[in-house]
Every structure is written in C-alpha cells, then in structure tokens.
C-alpha cells in the first residue's frame, strides 16, 4: 500500500470544487434556458466564477505535491 494522506485531502478538495463548478454550470444552463439572449454575459460570468472555485482545488493540488 503506497501513497499518502495528501492524496485523500486532494480528493476531498476535488469533490468540493466539483460540487461548486457543477452547481455553477447547472445554474448557468438554467439561466441560459430562461434568457438565451443573455448568453454572452452569463458565459463570461460562469467561467469567471468557475475559475475562482477551481482555485481552491488547485491550491489543494499544490499542497498535495508539497506534502506528498
């Protein structure tokens, strides 16, 4: 059995970011379905928010690299 606890932490962070990005994407889809004419604005904001949420997972990757 090899590996480290850092990998588990990384996985947990990925779950969190996954839930976050998933709900952002889902809500954006709903918003686009409701107001297709606002597609451009919604998409830009969706990517911006997703990038911010993703930051948490990326910091987890780095910590996992450093600790592992």
């Amino acid at each position: 059995m090899t590996g480290s606890i850092a990998a588990i932490g990384m996985g947990l962070a990925a779950i969190g970011a996954g839930i976050g990005v998933g709900s952002i994407g889902g809500k954006a889809m709903e918003a686009i379905a409701r107001q297709p004419e606002a597609l451009g604005d919604i998409r830009a904001n969706m990517i911006l928010t997703a990038a911010l949420v993703e930051g948490a997972a990326l910091i987890a990757i780095i910590v996992a690299f450093l600790v592992a």
């Binding site: 451009g40 990038a51 930051g55 990326l58 990757i61």
Partner: protein, 448 residues
Amino acid sequence: MKDLQRFLVSFALIPVISLIVALPVSLVAQHTEGQHSEQPAEHVTDSTHANLGHDEHADTSHTHTCHFHHDVIEEEYDATSTAFHHISDANVYSIGSFNFPLPCILYAKGHGWDVFSSKRFDFEFYGHGEGHKAYNKYVLDEGQVKRVQDESFPSGEVTIEGYIHENVIIDGKKAMNAYVCHEGKHYKLDNQSTADGGLFGGAMTSFYDFSISKNVFSMILITALLSWAFFGIARAYKNRAMMAPKGLQSFIEPIFVFIQDEVAKPFLGKHWEKFLPLLLSFFFFILGLNLFGQIPIFGGSNVTGNLAVTAVLALIAFVVVTINGNKHYWSHMLWMPGVPAIIKIIILTPVEILGMFIKPFTLMLRLFANITAGHIVVLSFVGLIFIFGKLGTSMAGVVGGAIVSIPLTMFIMAIELLVAFIQAYVFTLLVASYIGAATEEAHHDEKH
C-alpha cells in the same frame, strides 16, 4: 453522395493518423527491447540493487555500478518520474528523440561565469540527453545541467563513466540523489537551481542556471512568431485600410475583438483602452505557449506549466493592479467605509490585505496547475504503453497498450486544446477584473 464520400475519407483518415502516431511509439518500445536482449548478465544484479531504493528505508550504500541510461535494465517503469522528467525544463532541445544543443550560461559562487554550448557535454544525438563529458565540474544528467560540488573533481573537460540515481527517503519524503562516476569514484551532484520553487525536488545548489534552456528557447521562439504575425497584421491594416481582412488577419481579428468587447470593455469601463495592450499581450503570450506545448514532437515544452513563468506573469499583474489602484480602491482595501472599526481591525482589513496577495497567487497556480496537469495526464496515458508492454519486453502488451492509450491520448489532447484557450481567456479575464476593481471610480449611490 459527395457528403458521404467526404465523410468516408475523413473517417479513413483517423486510423491512418493513429497508425502514424502509433508507429514511432512501438518503434521506441522495440528499440528498448533490442537493447535489453544485449544485456550482459552483470547488470541484472545491478537492477536488484537499484530495487532497494524502492523500499521504505533509504539505501545510501554506493553499491550501484556506473552506467549510462541506455545500457541498463530499468528496474521498473516509473511513470511518475518519467512524467516529471518530461514536464521539467532541460538544457537540450529534443525534437522527437533527437537532441539539439542549447547555450548554457552558468554561474557558480567562487568560480564565476561559464558560457558554452551544451554540445560540450558530448551527449548522444539520439537518446536521453546524457553527457559523456564533464566541463568545469558541470555535467549533463538526463538533459539537465548539474554540478559537482566536490573539490577533488577535476575542472576542465573530463570524460565520465556514467550516472547513478537512487531514491532515498528524507524526512518521510521521496527524494532522488544523483551521482556521477569518474575514474571509479562517485561524486554527488548538486540539484538544479530552484526557480521551480523546489516543487519538483529541487534543493539548495551551488550554482545558478541562466541558460537559454528549452523553456526559454520556446518563449523566444513564440515571441518572435507572435511579433512577426502581429507586425504583419498591423501593416496589413495600414495598407489595406477599410478592406475586408485577409489571411492571418481574419484569424486574429475575431480574437482581438473578443478580448476587447467581452473582457476589456465590461471590466475596465472607461479605462479599457489603456489596459487593452497588456491584456492582449497576456492572452496571446499564454495562448501561444499553451498551444506550442501541445505539439508532441517539438520538445513538448511546458512553459506555461512552469511555476517560475506563471509567477512572473502573476507578478506583472500584481504590479499593474497595485500601481493603478486609486484612492477608492485603497480606502476599500484598508479602511472600508461604513463598517464598525472593530470589525475592520479584526477581520476585514487583514482579509483584504491577504486577498491582495492571494489573487496573483491563485492566478499563478491556476495556469501552472492546469497546464501541468494536462501534460501529466497525456504522459501518463502514453506511459500505459510502457507499463503494459513491460518496457518493450512484451510486444503484445505494447500493441494492447497502444490501442488503449492512443485514443485516450488523442481525446485528452483535444480537451487540452480547449483548455489552452480557456486558461488564456481566464487569466486575461481575471487580470481585467482585478484591474477593473482597482481603477473603479466611486459611485456610492449604486453599490454597498
């Protein structure tokens, strides 16, 4: 009918392309196999020694025999270290398996500067990029310049007998110690300089590497390419004013207009014209390097997946935001109006000041981690071939591995193409939003 024909032709193209990609891979595998069959028996014991390194305890005894990469049975295919080797910087430029020399600019304390071509290390043109000669105590180990710190190692040009790598456990962390052999003696090698932040196993070193390395070379190449393209396009706009765009112009113009209308104008308000050149430079520089890193044979240089590069990009963004921050921005950062003083002191101001540094920090990590992760995933899928094929000893495994791995690799590379655009866009978008937040004028009637 014509559509069907076109469809069939493109459908037939896919297996042909796959085969073209697969052939060199299996050739490499066979190449390795051919070498293995010529192995003298004594190296088998060497491989068992090397296996000790994989145990939990450190193996510090110098029982390994000296060897170059190509004349040893690798104890086990180590996918992780192979992937990390390929995403890290190098002092030789590899196109396919062929190595080309790059200039080395090195500085060591107490020794001074050394400027020479990495050709001096006498590495193989086809192979792993391992130098057969040392020059002024510098050696080329797997494409990377390292230095011998030992005083007894001769200066000038000397022939060396090989390298030893051993895995050791230091403070519970896996680390790699490298040794060089000269006249039967082992000399410990210093690690490379740690511009990577030591993330990839760097440590304190006795020398600084300012070389035109693989990454630097790629950066110069992309910058030259972009300048050529943009100067050409700018001239085209001058010469063909008020005419429909042509050639490269019609490829760049929509991207330019997209950044201008979707990123600069909404986020920067009336300052958009001032910061548009910066945003476009960020976008095209990152995009160009992302895409260049995706080309598998041209060294696959992982420039935007290098922490030092993204750190400098983020630093530029940080400096621009800090310099351009107006009174409104700083008052909201340091002393948010309309909030009780105690809350400001305890939580708000410290958090805002932390946030000021966390913003460029995540900017740096996001680009780095996305591009590096993409490269590692691709390399891992390619590594499947070697894992299934047991390093070329089982041809059936190689074929099976190739069948599994090539479609997966192509799929991931298609995604990475998308990621290259998205990450360049996200970086630009976030820089624009940070600058926008810093330059926004007060309009207290709308917000808060």
